[in-house]
Amino acid sequence: MSKSRIEVIDNRSWWLQNRWLLLRRTTQISILALFLLGPLAGIWIIKGNLNSSLTLDFLPLTDPFVLLQSWLADHQFGTTAAIGALIVAAFYFLIGGRAYCGWVCPVNIVTDTAYWARRRLGLRGNTKLHRHTRYWLLAASLLLSAITGYVAWEWINPVSILHRGIIFGMGSGWFLILGIFLFDLAVSKRGWCSHLCPMGAFYSLLGSHSTIRIRADNRDACDKCMDCFEVCPEPLVISPALFGKKDGIGPVINEINCTNCGRCIDVCSKEVFHFGTRFDNKDPISPEKAGDGNLTRLNPDQFEHKEATT
């Protein structure tokens, strides 16, 4: 795919072309490193893992998704966990729910690598999954917790298995992670993170009204090179903001599945995108000249088709 595409001439510096990706990887690895400092070097800044942790023996942080399951499993959880979950929920409510996926989750590195390898190897095999499957899986795992009385998703949650495994010992958990890598590589494009993971779905809903958003304020400069769609883990989220001007849609990427990864900012040679807030989402030129109200959306199937034929 990438080979057949016409190379976009980009005169920006290497730093500007990779800034957000590097920042993101740095953040992901730093968070892991902070957790690992304790067991490896005896410097206990953060104890625990992503499910629940204690920073500097003072700040509790708890994953609200796992606590919600525990609550549905009819457990009256303690105040420490509740406070921790509130802090985390408030943070992602403001910053953007799926910033968790893009900036914290260790599985993201695995699936991004799988996608990168997929493109490099030119693998086309793609079992199409519905992008809403994750929401159904989210509902299923919550329902299952209520029925079984267990924290159900934790039995197979690759996010916590990987993160906990790296810190506390992985055992044969690597096979599960390898499975996800291979699944994303050869079976389904962006299969796990963008289609199946209920944790991502939970954080999507959590950050549905988040403040920090990517904006396409400079969308008039877009030359439709489609590079952003190529790198975006959730390409559906871009089109309303990027192409919606004639329909009166503002430049803010307001879709809940956006992971705030910022890769679209990196790849856009026309500097269409930048980080901003959800506020002031008005078309700076002519809101009155709004079109007939039909949303301009690119059908995801169009991309799949395009990819398959090129």
């Binding site: 304790g38 206990w44 104890k47 625990g48 893992n49 499910n51 629940s52 942790s53 204690l54 509790p60 708890t62 994953d63 796992v66 606590l67 525990s70 499993a73 009819d74 457990h75 009256q76 959880f77 303690g78 420490t80 966990a81 921790g84 999954l129 519905h130 809403h132 499957t133 159904w136 899986l137 299923a140 795992s141 329902l143 299952l144 917790s145 029925i147 079984t148 009385g149 267990y150 924290v151 159900a152 998703w153 934790e154 039995w155 197979i156 916590s160 298995i161 906990r164 495994g165 810190i167 506390f168 010992g169 992985m170 055992g171 044969s172 958990g173 096979f175 599960l176």
Partner: protein, 293 residues
């Protein structure tokens, strides 16, 4: 023009097709998710049994509640100063991510301040456990009398000596040594009202395979029926027997005879033995005539 009309027609046609596809896609997704959910449900049920020799940290809720309460963060593991606790991986038979320990490897050292319970953010380890002596991680059972050295009449006593609650959780009960016929056996005896299941005894047992083991309480303990009453206790409480005493036993023996329970058999009563030669010979004569002869 016609082309345009055709394409319009086509579009409406494809609209119908896409609706059909939407429905079939949704159905497929629904079935897939349902299947995945059922599979996950079965998997959680199947794997939720705790191996007998895996012990939960102090204060852990009953296993079924624990699996709904523990969020597998490992904070208890981090605050355990003796590296007793570990989190289960996919290799272990314990539910993945949950804390446990193996007494024979590293037992619970029963810290006074119970740091693992204090570290638990959810209450999966019951915060009501502030005194480690109140915890019940399991129950030690002297499971093999055939190999326990004390049962052979030796004085090993190591489990007893190392018990953090010596003389409460484990006592030595004296018993006659039938083999030698002249010695005493000191039988290590666990008392469930004090044993916390810390596993120290199992760890220190000198045998290659421990004769005393910590088991889950549900496995180790029987249960007395609610309506059972121990007569001797009731008697003591009431200050006397609560049932009508048996009537004094009556033997239907011939008159003038006693029965000896020690094997002598019938013993004539002394009074009834006629004196062979009374001082007054006339008296015996009179006696004989009194018998109706």
């Amino acid at each position: 023009m016609t082309e345009g009309r055709d394409s319009k027609k086509k579009r409406t046609g494809s609209g119908k097709a896409s609706r059909r596809r939407f429905i079939s896609d949704t159905a497929k997704m629904g079935c897939g998710v349902l299947l995945a959910g059922l599979g996950l449900g079965a998997y959680t049920r199947k794997t939720s049994a705790l191996p007998v020799q895996a012990l939960r940290p102090p204060g852990a809720l009953p296993e079924n509640d624990f699996l709904g309460a523990c969020i597998r963060c490992g904070l208890c593991v981090r605050d355990c100063p003796f590296d007793t606790l570990k989190l289960a991986t996919l290799n272990d038979d314990v539910v993945i991510g949950t804390p446990y320990f193996t007494a024979r490897d590293i037992p619970c050292e029963m810290c006074d301040d119970v740091p693992c319970v204090a570290a638990c953010p959810t209450g999966a380890l019951d915060p009501a456990i502030t005194d480690i002596d109140d915890s019940r991680m399991g129950l030690a059972v002297l499971i093999d009398e055939e190999t326990c050295l004390n049962f052979q009449g030796l004085r090993c006593d190591v489990c007893y000596r190392q018990c953090p609650l010596i003389e409460k959780a484990i006592t030595l009960e004296l018993r006659h040594n039938q083999r030698s016929g002249m010695h005493t056996m000191f039988i290590p005896t666990v008392h469930s009202d004090a044993c916390t299941g810390c596993g120290k005894c199992e760890q220190v047992c000198v045998l290659p395979e421990a004769a005393i083991k910590v088991l889950p309480i549900a496995v180790a303990k029987g249960m007395s029926a609610d309506h059972y009453r121990w007569g001797w206790e009731e008697k003591q409480e009431a200050g006397g027997s609560l049932v009508t005493p048996d009537p004094k036993h009556q033997y239907n023996l011939p008159e003038g005879v006693d029965y000896d329970l020690q094997g002598e058999g019938l013993i004539p009563k002394k009074q009834s033995i006629p004196e062979p030669f009374p001082e007054d010979p006339l008296k015996s004569l009179n006696q004989g005539s009194g018998d109706g002869l």
